[in-house]
Symmetry: C2
């Protein structure tokens, strides 16, 4: 997805928000905002929003943000989600269509997002998403792709959401490679967070080799790139993976909630929709 003009004020606001969350003082915040203004001025309009966010988060780190102040929030999110795990499993077990139910739950878990503006109640969200119609539902293509796949590459998103991903992976009944970030970036799941969610028991957990949001292929390791290139089916969770991979072909299936109105518009759905969307053919 390209960066829309609406993304500029939002990215500037994120720079300030993340600087504050990282413990930057007022002077450091001012420097971060000034450098973010420069960055926004210089970036190519063809960059995806996570590519610009990556530059901005690096500024925050350089200007005095602590390395990983999100770690405690991530651990809390994982604990909170693990407490729901038995109820999530029961919801899938009693469903007429367990795969459809597990996909819904994986999308419900995508509400866990510290950089999102809204507060949330996790179980309320689970219950709401159980009844919410899909705004895009490429389920038939998804099932067809899974039927012929030998292994699935699953691109994770946030810590805590990982537990919901685990429930979907357990429902897939296929070998899964689960990709996490190579280093801390806001509340995105790293190897440690995935292990805390028990993902190592149900999938091969690998690192993208990048600590950028989403999946910026140019930032990823050779090992990850090989796995990515060879994957027959890719499940990509969350907005950032959509933003970075939306034009990367039909083997990718995006599972997300459209929390951002600009992303919603790019997908062609209302804000706060739930989406299972097959990627578009590569131009």
């Amino acid at each position: 997805m390209k960066t829309y003009l609406d993304c500029y004020p939002c990215l500037l606001g994120q720079a300030l928000k993340v600087a504050r969350l990282s413990g930057a003082d007022e002077t450091q915040q001012q420097v971060v905002v000034n450098r973010a203004l420069d960055t926004l001025k210089e970036v190519s309009p063809s960059s995806t929003p996570p590519e610009i966010a990556d530059l901005i988060y690096h500024i925050v780190r350089e200007e005095g943000g602590a390395a990983d102040l999100f770690q405690k929030a991530k651990e809390a999110a994982t604990r909170q989600a693990l407490a729901l795990y038995p109820r999530l499993k029961a919801l899938v077990a009693e469903a007429d269509d367990p795969l459809e139910r597990a996909v819904r739950l994986a999308i419900a878990g995508n509400i866990i997002d510290l950089t999102s503006a809204k507060e949330y109640d996790l179980w309320d969200t689970v219950e709401r998403v159980l009844d919410q119609p899909f705004a895009v539902e490429d389920g038939a293509a998804f099932r067809e792709a899974l039927a012929s796949a030998e292994v699935v590459l699953y691109l994770g998103d946030n810590a805590g959401e990982t537990v919901f991903d685990r429930v979907l992976i357990e429902t897939l009944d296929l070998p899964v490679t689960y990709a996490v970030k190579g280093g801390p970036i806001v509340n995105d799941a790293t190897m440690e967070d995935a292990t805390a969610a028990g993902l190592d028991e149900v999938a091969e957990v690998v690192s993208t080799g990048s600590d950028s949001l989403g999946t910026i292929l140019d930032h990823c390791s050779d090992d990850f790139r090989r796995r990515y290139d060879e994957a027959q089916v890719i499940i990509a969770k969350g907005q950032s993976n959509y933003e970075t991979l939306s034009s990367e072909g039909e083997r990718i299936f995006f599972l997300l909630r459209t929390k951002c109105p600009v992303i919603a518009q790019d997908v062609g759905v209302p804000a706060d929709s739930i989406v299972l969307k097959q990627g578009e053919k590569q131009g």
Copy 2:
């Protein structure tokens, strides 16, 4: 009020919003955003937000925004408010404390603000504000100041809100000079808008000589500056007048709704409060 760091993303968002409202095409919008980034980088942090907004709105005008695309919206707001005028007058007539009621109504009218994010229903707001406790209520000082004043300088804000101002002016029983903007700037009232609201029947309507938001004294005409310097009591409506005059002394009384969370914090009250606040002594 100084410009807080939170104002930067908001001002950038306003640049884009006003460019779109003014009919700028995508290319013009991009130029506006780029120039706004430069402006935000260069401005002195001691500028007030309306001083920066003024620079940004000038960019919009230069880059292709039409002169006054808000005129129709302003006319509609005035018509809508005029339709309520008899009910507003009745509310004041039946009040135990007509001045207190008229002040409340003048603040209720401050909901009319096209650059504000929220949609509004005017009469609902009137009714809500009738019962809402003041977050700041310098009413005693206000009455005292009025008791010894020979003339009141009233700094207007938006078109439509003018009708509510008229009701307060009619309640004051003092000669009033009503100041409007010297030229179109978003939906702020100009001479034409004030006349449409009937303010010329109850006050001497004068121009600030400036088409900036709020009252940036350096931008105002000599004639207005003289009136301003001589005024014993000044009623200043809305957020922008607070932003530009908050440190200009105790003869100013600010009547506003704190629609912006940053302004609310500067005033020291929750967002969406109603405020009758005496200005602080000049430092």
